[in-house]
Amino acid sequence: MSDYVPDNPLIVQSDQTVLLEVHSPRSEAAREAIVPFAELLKSPEHIHTYRITPLSIWNARASGLSTAAMVATLREYAKYPIPEGVAQEIDALGRRYGLAVIDRAADQGLVLWVADPALAELLARDRQVAPLLSERLGDLQFRIKLGVRGLLKQALVAIGYPADDLAGYSEGQELPLRLREICASGGPFRVREYQWEAAEAFYQDGQARGGSGVIVLPCGAGKTIVGMAVMALAQENTLILTTSQTSMEQWRRELLDKTDLPADAIAEYSGQRKDTGAVTVATYQMLTYRASKDGEFVHFGLFHARAWGLIIYDEVHLLPAPVFRITAELQSRRRLGLTATLIREDGLEKDVFALIGPKRYDAPWRELEGQGWIAAADCVEFRLRQTPERDMEYALAPRRNQFRIAAENPRKRLVVKELLQREAGHRILVIGEYLDQLAALATDTGFPLLTGKTPQLEREKLYQAFRARSVPGLVLSRVGNFAVDLPDADVLIQVSGKYGSRQEEAQRLGRVLRPKADGRRARFYTLVSLRTCEEDFARHRQLFLTEQGYSYRIEGER
């Protein structure tokens, strides 16, 4: 084949996906070149898959990359000639970006400018967009109704004409904040280079083009630090939204440890306390609480409680729909999304793009692992036999109960004991789904047990004990899935999981990915009952891990 260039690493496919052969001598350069306009879908050994989507193209256009440059990049690194359809699609979609611009006019308020009369007519008649526009100011200008900036951006994305939002932000209340060089806890502190790059890519010197968007970093790469770096750049009051109470605690702890904020500047808006301060931390659950299904979201007032200059959405891929709705009204605030993956199980990536902002920074975990910023991990799956009696019990059980029977296979307790012996001296987390099984494991191992019922104070105490090395390990229920900052944990034993949840798998693995001082590799064990549905669920999760590039080993039947 005459057009075949073996040394090039990319294969551009007609479905807009791009395969990157990582062993190719030019793979690193190619990766850097395509990351601005292609989303990393999966990164198993050998081949990484990226997808070029309308959003990724618009993200790239938002950061100033031309469509010609995108196509040229693909041509430069492609092994085979790229499908013409892909080039045309990039060009067609990329050209749409910037055809609609939201800006402020001197005395007209917010105005939508469009590039040509045909588009103006299209928008004026579109049933999603038209209701959000006020009077027509000229052939190519519309005044925007009050308070619909976000909804308009959402509607424009939906019809394929993303707006370039240059309207800027309202001034937030000032917040003097400085990052420490020596942590309050005593250790040295320095924002890593990639973390600064991410913060600056977001903030863009305070210009209207910046100030809203999403930073994508793998678990354990220090997204909290990036959030704090942005706060240090913005110097304005900040609302931080997180997924759990524990995560709130973590933010608070980190802010106190690594910034010069006094403790009273950080308020907690939670079930226990409803304070607001210059920096306020809240959970999505709290904000979306309502007394009845049709009731009001009574805590949405928090968004307007202060003149927030910055709102941080932690784990933005989990952002609940009601928060999207309120976020649509908050377009004049700087909005920072933090996540390990932009892919949402509910397919609301477009809303993230429209309401939070485009992706501003993305660092592949492999690169960070190579630089030692996150720990390398080995994933091992053990297949365990059940006793014949239990096999029969499993076979006769209704389908909905089978998973639990398999998950609670008593042999798992023996294997956990074996693993504890094998991993003696390591910092171990045992995570499972079913409380009876976890209680038994806690008894077997002598590790403290943390479940949803464990009071928050008690949890914090136990986490602290683990961090302080006064307990060698913890047995955790699902509460251990999210935002538990246990930097020393390097072995995780998953005795059961929530069916095939990839999200959960990623979060659990994230618990052991903090880089270790001695550079040791993390180990992630999963125990699976042989010849049960657990195998299928495990395969689903296994695929996810391999697609993230982790080595995965399956140890034979036990």
Binding site: Y4, I11, D15, T17, P44, E45
Partner: protein
């Protein structure tokens, strides 16, 4: 034996003379004596000839100084050879095909006048309608040297070019000039291609993507095109740029569907070929064994007569059909001829034919050449003057060798395009200007290769040459069960195999799919074939997750076995069902299925009924 030529032995020369007319006897007498005799009576002429040849009644044994030796010395070398061939040959008659094959030309039999009457040469004196009387034959045998059998002349080196010779007529001067045109010879080593192609064809059939005619079993244009795309190195000729009248047509692409059927690896189901059990097995069996078996089956197959592929010879499916000989006999002759070829040495196909026909190892295509014709009825091939073996037997042999033996990888071949390659049909003026008689006319040389030696049972083993190691892997097998094609070119056959086990999720990526794998296993496939392919294409061991996945699927698909059909019988109540299922008379023939149902294997139904009656119950039919 041709229907129209009924040759019978003639016991004695004298008897033969008695059958001749006076005119003929006079001509014979003139040949054996210089004296001008004036004999006119038949009896006198017979006596005269007998005296000249010293043939007395009852004289059966040769003597010293036999006067026949004198006549023998007067013959030219070609005529002497004709005498010797018959005297020492298996039959008392002269075989012109065989003689010409051996000696390259016919001996001088005499001259014909304008009325087509023959005045015999001295050689003609000893033959009557081509038959030599037995007594003469015995006498010639006593002194004529035994002819040497024809041996093959292997070539140490093949020429790079073949020179085509043609005559051109200048219409103005009416003068013909000989034009010579060198044509490069193409050499194809076929064993590796055959190994590759067989797998590809089996996969194609397995995927249900090969349709052939339900009437003729032959592939149509679409099927040929499908097969052609799979062949390693393509077909022998690429005639896409040729003008219509020069088109050669498919050879290997046509042969494979026929070979799959004739080799008993595939059968027709509707219009689609389906693998037989042997075909399924062949997917994982050593390829050389399968190829050898295919050749053996092909020798006897009745699926197809290769002679049909000589399109120019008409009448094969009409009146000429009954006269055709069984293909198995012809193939057997060619099989023996190939077995006689020294492995590893190039042999000219003409040399091979010469050896076959000269040594009496040839075959007949038809017993009725009058009902075979070229161009249109009336131009039949029954004329004795025309050496039809070149047109029929040789073309048939070329077809079998080129289309089937070479396709199966038994022989390497050296060939040129067929146009003008065999100008041996100029006497048939209706087709004289045609570019070729058969698409196989360009085959010049063949060589029994190691695979051929194995398939022809000349050796007991075959060591396949090591597969070429691609400098770069063609695919990457990823731990997330995906297979990405990253190399310059993935063979269509390999892609097809991947299609049957994995779902193609984008242009260059397949994902191993549980449903497909289980379906493939249900259909009798072995996952080892897939694993081997993946390892060979990627040049690396499979990722552990993939290996485990395949093992799991294999285990799951093999965990259940179909044991045949059973009849489900509902009993009036659970007690009765339990009773029948446990009674020693009925128990061997039924199984309890649920509370009040019994499953009775169909093959044991009669015995179950009889046992049931003994138990005092009946089962309405």
């Amino acid at each position: 034996m041709r229907y129209d030529i009924q040759l019978l032995p003639i016991p004695a020369f004298a008897d033969a003379l008695q059958q001749q007319s006076v005119d003929d006897l006079k001509k014979i007498a003139a040949q054996i004596s210089d004296e001008k005799n004036r004999l006119v009576r038949k009896a006198d002429l017979v006596n005269f000839i007998r005296q000249q040849l010293s043939i007395d009644p009852g004289r059966l044994r040769q003597v010293e100084n036999d006067p026949l030796q004198g006549f023998w010395r007067k013959l030219d070398s070609l005529q002497q050879a004709a005498i010797a061939e018959v005297a020492h040959g298996p039959n008392p008659w002269f075989d012109p095909d065989r003689f010409e094959a051996k000696h390259g030309q016919s001996p001088n039999w005499g001259q014909r006048d304008h009325c087509y009457n023959l005045t015999p040469s001295l050689l003609g004196v000893f033959f009557f309608n081509g038959v030599m009387p037995d007594d003469l034959r015995r006498r010639f045998k006593s002194f004529a040297p035994k002819p040497e059998p024809v041996r093959l002349s292997p070539l140490s080196e093949l020429p790079a070019e073949w020179v085509l010779t043609d005559e051109k007529l200048d219409p103005k001067t009416r003068a013909t000039t000989v034009v010579q045109k060198p044509v490069p010879i193409t050499i194809r080593l076929t064993d590796r291609a055959a190994i590759h192609d067989l797998k590809a064809i089996l996969r194609l059939i397995d995927a249900g993507k090969l349709a052939v005619s339900d009437k003729t079993s032959q592939p149509g244009i679409a099927a040929v095109r499908t097969v052609d795309a799979l062949l390693l190195g393509g077909d022998f000729y690429d005639d896409s740029d040729y003008p219509e009248e020069q088109k050669i047509g498919p050879i290997r692409a046509f042969a494979w569907p026929m070979l799959a059927q004739g080799g008993k690896l595939a059968v027709l189901s509707g219009k689609i070929l389906q693998l037989t059990k042997a075909g399924q097995k062949a997917l994982t069996d050593p390829v050389e064994k399968t190829l050898a078996q295919m050749w053996r089956h092909w020798l006897k197959t009745t699926v197809f007569d290769e002679f049909l592929r000589i399109d120019l010879i008409k009448g094969q499916t009409g009146k000429g059909k009954r006269g055709l000989t069984a293909p198995s006999g012809r193939r057997a002759a060619l099989h023996q001829a190939l077995r006689g070829c020294p492995p590893g040495q190039w042999i000219g196909v003409n040399d091979l034919f010469r050896q076959m026909w000269a040594n009496g190892a040839g075959f007949e295509i038809t017993r009725d050449p009058y009902n075979l014709y070229v161009s249109q009825p009336g131009y039949d091939l029954g004329s004795e003057d025309y050496r039809h073996w070149r047109l029929l037997q040789a073309r048939y042999a070329l077809c079998v060798l080129f289309e089937y033996a070479a396709t199966l990888g038994l022989i390497d071949v050296a060939y040129i395009p067929p146009q003008g390659a065999r100008r041996d049909y100029g006497e048939l003026w209706r087709i004289a200007r045609w570019p070729f008689v058969s698409r196989y006319d360009g085959l010049l040389y063949l060589r029994v290769n190691p695979l051929g030696a194995y398939c022809l049972e000349l050796t007991g083993h075959y060591q396949p040459s090591a597969p070429e190691i691609a400098s770069t892997p063609l695919v990457r097998v990823l731990p997330n069960l995906e297979i990405a094609a990253i190399g310059p070119h993935l063979e269509p056959a390999d892609a097809m195999l991947l299609d049957s086990y994995a779902e193609k999720i984008s242009d260059a990526v397949w994902k191993l799919d549980q449903d497909r794998l289980i379906e493939a296993l249900e259909n009798g496939h072995e996952l080892t074939a897939l694993a081997e392919l993946l390892v060979s294409l990627s040049g690396q061991p499979l990722p552990e997750t993939v290996e485990r996945f395949l093992t799991d699927m294999n285990h799951r698909a093999r965990s259940l076995q179909a044991q045949g059909t059973a009849k489900l019988i509902e009993c009036a109540d659970a007690m009765l069902a339990t009773l029948i299922a446990n009674d020693s008379r009925t128990k061997p023939f039924c199984l309890l299925a649920g509370e009040r149902h019994l499953a009775v294997p169909v093959e044991g139904e009669t015995r179950f009924r009889s046992a049931l009656r003994k138990l005092g119950y009946g089962l309405p039919r």
